[in-house]
């Protein structure tokens, strides 16, 4: 038996077997991107006072767990803290023997056990010191995770250095039942493989068939003479094209364009199905009828794609333009010329004979290849105009064309600061008017950051973590900033909601609960994976999780 099928027995490699369940999501290309990535975790900024070790850093370590398991290339943990008893009650990647040792070294050691292919390093110096001593340190990393709360000066210097280098930053905080994190992406963050719902990417071009497709549709003009078996197996795509031509004959050459006409067209198709067969109907006609409303729409560019076409990076190419923009520019030309995007070329399954389906599928595939070839030609022309030699790979052009309808570009925002720009202040004011909004939790965390910075700088005693009047006066300062360019101050109800959230944070005196930190570590890792693989669509830019109600929300702050 075995000798008959020698090549099958080799099967997937041990690595492919280990990563099988994730390769089905981000494929070999995503996996390779992960393996080429080193992630930096800044897990604390030194102690807050004499008694408190400050940040437990559980979110950071849990996030790394979720990145080490799928196989990032490596990680570095920067954490000057020493392991204490409360760490053991919250952090799974520490053990009794870790007490009194460096937290960076101990968490690094236990995380490395999860995956022998991942490199792990640790550093016990505060990040500010490392940045001064090793200017090249940050640039070795593809992503920076920061566990807050952290001294404002450290946060700001890290974020601005990362911004200059174009390295994404995730800043997290988790206290009691609440958590929040923000993602700072580079100024321009394009994503080609956004993995939209397959339904939404279906593009059959039924209202504007290209010549080869129109010819295939014309080939079923003998529909009435087909026997029941053949008639019941004509692919619905051809049925719709055929009946559209019939419709046009009696409608001045126009296709059904509104709901009423489409409903009429649908009835017209329905009435053409044979019902005198044993099944009392035909599946291919049922499929055709079901497709009328969603497939008979003229091609239209999504507004997000139109926006990308209008971006300056697309219209003002330079010899330094990224490959992404060269392809966008070529695809925009394609669209200008044909009023459609390159055909993705995928045909959904449908009732049909094997050979008929395969030949129809080939018509779509051939057209898709032709469109790719045309875009490639434009790309090469642009490259030579820019004085570049074919630096954009054929593979990239192909992947782009297949995903063209759903590409995205995110404009990176900074990690939000308590005194943000006018735009974010306005957004905060609007959100504060909504009593279901989670923004009150976010603002409570902003107060926590201020209080912690105060403790670290020796301005406040450690007890400030549970000092109600101090939190309340810091809140009023923040609310003052938020209302500074508005006509009225923030109302009392909104203020009370923030005070309630703050009370919940003060309940654990800044300490975190493992569940909430683990959940947050899952969410943060999800974002890290999306950023590193450049697949799926990352957060823009702040997420707040409420573990009391088990809900979350995203805000652009």
């Amino acid at each position: 038996m075995t000798s008959e099928f020698p090549h099958a027995l080799t099967g997937p490699s041990s690595k492919e077997r280990r990563y099988d369940r994730q390769l089905r999501l981000w494929a070999a290309s995503g996996q390779q991107a992960l393996e080429e990535s080193r992630v930096l975790l800044v897990n604390s900024d030194g102690p807050w006072g004499n008694q408190s070790t400050g940040v437990s850093g559980v979110v950071g370590v849990e996030t790394l767990k979720n990145l080490v398991l799928p196989g990032i290339g490596g990680f570095t943990i920067v954490d000057p803290a020493v392991v204490t008893e409360p760490d053991l009650g919250a952090n799974f990647f520490l053990e009794d023997e870790s007490l009194g040792k460096s937290r960076a070294e101990e968490t690094c050691r236990l995380l490395k056990e999860l995956n022998p292919d991942v490199e792990g390093n640790s550093c016990t110096k505060p990040i500010a010191e490392i940045l001064q001593e090793e200017p090249e340190f940050l640039s070795q990393h593809k992503l920076i995770l920061i566990s807050g709360p952290i001294k404002r000066s450290s946060l700001q210097s890290l974020c601005s250095a990362a911004k200059t280098l174009g390295i994404p930053v995730l800043y997290t905080r988790s206290v009691g039942f609440f958590s929040t994190f923000s993602l700072q992406l580079p100024a321009v963050f394009p994503i080609v493989e956004t993995h939209p719902d397959p339904e939404s990417t279906q593009d059959l071009r039924l209202l504007g068939p290209w010549p080869e497709l129109a010819v295939a549709a014309a080939s079923i003009s003998n529909l009435d003479s087909l026997d029941d078996h053949q008639h019941g197996h004509v692919p619905y795509v051809l049925l719709l094209l055929y009946y559209l031509e019939k419709w046009k004959e009696t409608h001045n050459g126009n296709v059904p364009s509104n709901y009423k006409e489409k409903s009429e067209f649908r009835e017209f198709v329905r009435s053409s199905a044979r019902t005198d067969n044993p099944q009392g109907g035909e599946e291919n006609y049922d499929e055709a009828i079901a497709a009328v409303l969603k497939s008979l729409n003229p091609f239209s560019l999504r507004s997000s794609t139109r926006d990308i076409f209008e971006m300056e990076e697309c219209s003002q190419l330079t010899p330094n333009s990224a490959n992404f923009w060269i392809i966008v520019s070529a695809v925009r030309e394609f669209h200008q010329q044909h009023q459609v995007l390159p055909l993705p070329g995928l045909l959904p399954d449908m009732k049909a004979q094997s050979a008929d389906y395969v030949s129809l599928q080939n018509i779509y595939k051939t057209k898709a290849r032709k469109d790719i070839a045309e875009v490639t030609e434009t790309v090469r022309r642009i490259e030579s105009q820019l004085g570049q030699s074919a630096s954009v790979s054929d593979k990239d052009i192909e992947v782009f064309c297949k995903n063209a309808s759903h590409i995205q570009v995110i404009r990176g925002r900074d990690i939000p600061q308590p005194d943000g720009d006018a735009q974010s202040l306005k957004r905060l004011r609007i959100e504060l008017g909504n009593d279901e909004s989670l923004i009150s939790i976010f603002l409570a965390f902003q107060i926590l950051d201020i209080v912690v910075t105060g403790i670290q700088e020796g301005k406040y005693p450690e007890g400030a973590l549970d000092d109600e009047s101090l939190w309340s006066s810091e809140l009023d300062r923040i609310l003052g900033v938020i209302a500074s360019d508005a006509s009225a101050p923030v109302d009392d109800e909104a203020r009370n909601r923030i005070l309630e959230a703050a009370r919940e944070l003060r309940r654990t005196e800044g300490g975190d609960l493992h569940n909430i930190s683990s959940l947050t570590g899952g969410l943060v890792a999800q974002e890290a994976l999306k950023v590193l693989t450049r697949q799926y669509v990352p957060l823009d830019n702040t997420c707040i999780f409420n573990g009391i109600r088990s809900n979350s929300a995203m805000y652009k702050l």
Binding site: M1, A8, L9, S14, R17, R18, Y19, D20, R21, Q22, R24, L25, E62, K65, L69, P70, E85, P86, L88, G89, A90, F92, L114, N115, P116, G176, F177, H195, H233, D349, Q353, S354, A355, Y357, V358, E500, R503, E504, R507, T508, E509, G511, L513, N515, S518, L519, G522, L523, A525, Q526, L529, Y536, V537, L539, C543, G547, I548, N551, S552, M554
Partner: protein, 418 residues
């Protein structure tokens, strides 16, 4: 710092009221003590189960039990972080329990390697809460109907909150069920519809997709050529044979795209799974367990869904209890059906309908047995009914009781003719 500080932050949350905790709640020693005395059961020691065990141990639970029948496979290692390469082949429940016990001092974890169906009501009665991290709808429905069936209104201790988590790729859900009081897994069955099966005639005669060729090799060619070998989806030689056979068929029909990975995916019905989604959903369930065990904050009522493909999206809502739920409702569930289908076809419909999903049903009306699979004599007596049309067997609006070997209860359906 003293050893008593280990649970400092957790105990603060349990010793101090918050703005959202119940005003009647009494924080402090008693609450902590009742948490430590809460015996809790975890069903599944896989992707969710590993996380759930870790989270419960670090949430102050001291007496945890875990059931899983599986052994560790290499493809588990990308997310089931309690297992190492050297553990491959060992029972998940035992390895997971030993790991967490060793790491978190003072917690006792009792593993059981076997099926949930091996245990009876007495076993389930000893727990305060049941947390499920399963990938099988069938097992979920079984534990759900068992826990609903255990509820004795005169004995509040008989009501065991069921917290259930599930994931697929970047998506997942967590839900809290108070058996007999709130919407149960059976009430929500139609939210978890199975993928529609490819009709057998497509597989047998007109394949169009690579998956159709794989199904053919797996279901038809294997039966035809190797019926004496029982197919084992973990046997590389078996999968290899199916792959090659599918490839040959695909070539014959000019279908492209059959790969080894796809073959495995189809025959094992593989669902993509990653560590991060499991972390989110598992922690959502254990956070509810902590809240239910201690009342330190209100618990989820009753369903949270999560999707991470585009940003972070959650939707939290209250699923409704259904009066016609076969498990916790009092009425028969209405099912609309063409009276001209045969009983055999109706049985197929029961397998596919999102609100039924019964694969091996036996059916009877109040007066007569329509079809009974077991014992063989009864099967022999009733199988002639399979070819009869429904209209010749039951009346419009009549109730039919359906039993299925996978479940302990009967499902009641009221047949409404079209």
């Amino acid at each position: 710092m003293a050893a008593g500080d280990r649970w400092k932050y957790l105990y603060k949350a349990l010793s101090k009221s918050g703005p959202f905790s119940d005003p009647d709640w009494v924080p402090g020693e008693e609450t902590i003590k009742s948490l430590e005395e809460s015996k809790i059961l975890v069903i599944g020691a896989g992707g969710l189960g590993c996380e759930i065990l870790k989270n419960l141990a670090l949430s102050g639970f001291k007496d945890i039990h875990v059931i899983d029948m599986d052994t560790i496979d290499i493809s588990n290692l990308n997310r089931q972080f309690l297992f190492r390469h050297s553990d491959i082949g060992k029972p998940k429940a035992e390895v997971a329990a030993a790991f967490v016990e060793k790491r978190v001092k003072g917690v006792k974890i009792t593993p059981f390697v076997g099926k949930i169906q091996d245990k009876d009501e007495d076993y389930y009665l000893q727990f305060k809460i049941v947390v499920c991290g399963l990938d099988s709808i069938e097992a979920r429905r079984w534990i759900n109907s068992t826990l609903v069936g255990m509820v004795d209104m005169d004995n509040p201790e008989s009501l065991k909150p069921l917290i259930d988590g599930g994931t697929e790729g970047f998506k997942g859900q967590a839900r809290v069920i108070l058996p007999s009081l709130t919407s149960c897994i059976e009430c929500q069955l139609d939210m978890h519809a199975p993928r529609p099966a490819v009709p057998l005639c497509t597989i047998a005669t007109i394949p169009r997709q690579p998956q159709h060729c794989i199904e053919w090799a797996h279901q038809i060619a294997w039966q035809d050529k190797r019926k004496d070998d029982s197919f084992d989806s973990d046997d590389m030689e078996h999968i290899g044979w199916v792959y090659n056979t599918a490839l040959e068929r695909a070539n014959e029909f000019n279908i492209s795209g059959v790969t080894f990975q796809m073959t495995q995916g189809v025959v094992k019905n593989i669902i993509p799974a990653i560590a991060s989604t499991n972390a989110v959903i598992a922690a959502a369930t254990t956070s509810e367990a902590l809240k239910i065990a201690t009342s330190c904050n209100p618990f989820l009522e009753n369903y949270m869904m999560y999707a991470g493909e585009e940003g972070v999206y959650t939707y939290t809502f209250e699923a409704e209890k259904k009066t016609d739920c076969p498990v916790c409702g009092s009425l028969a569930r209405k099912i609309t059906v063409n009276p001209d289908v045969t009983l055999e076809e109706f049985i197929e419909i029961l397998g596919e309908q999102p609100e039924a999903q019964l694969k091996k049903p036996s059916l009877r009306t109040e007066e007569t047995t329509l079809y009974q699979r077991f014992p063989p004599q009864l099967e022999e007596q009733t199988k002639s009914n399979l070819k009869l049309k429904l209209r010749d067997l039951v009346a419009d609006g009549q109730e039919v009781a359906v039993s299925d070997p996978a479940y302990t209860i009967d499902f009641r359906f009221q047949l409404i003719f079209t």
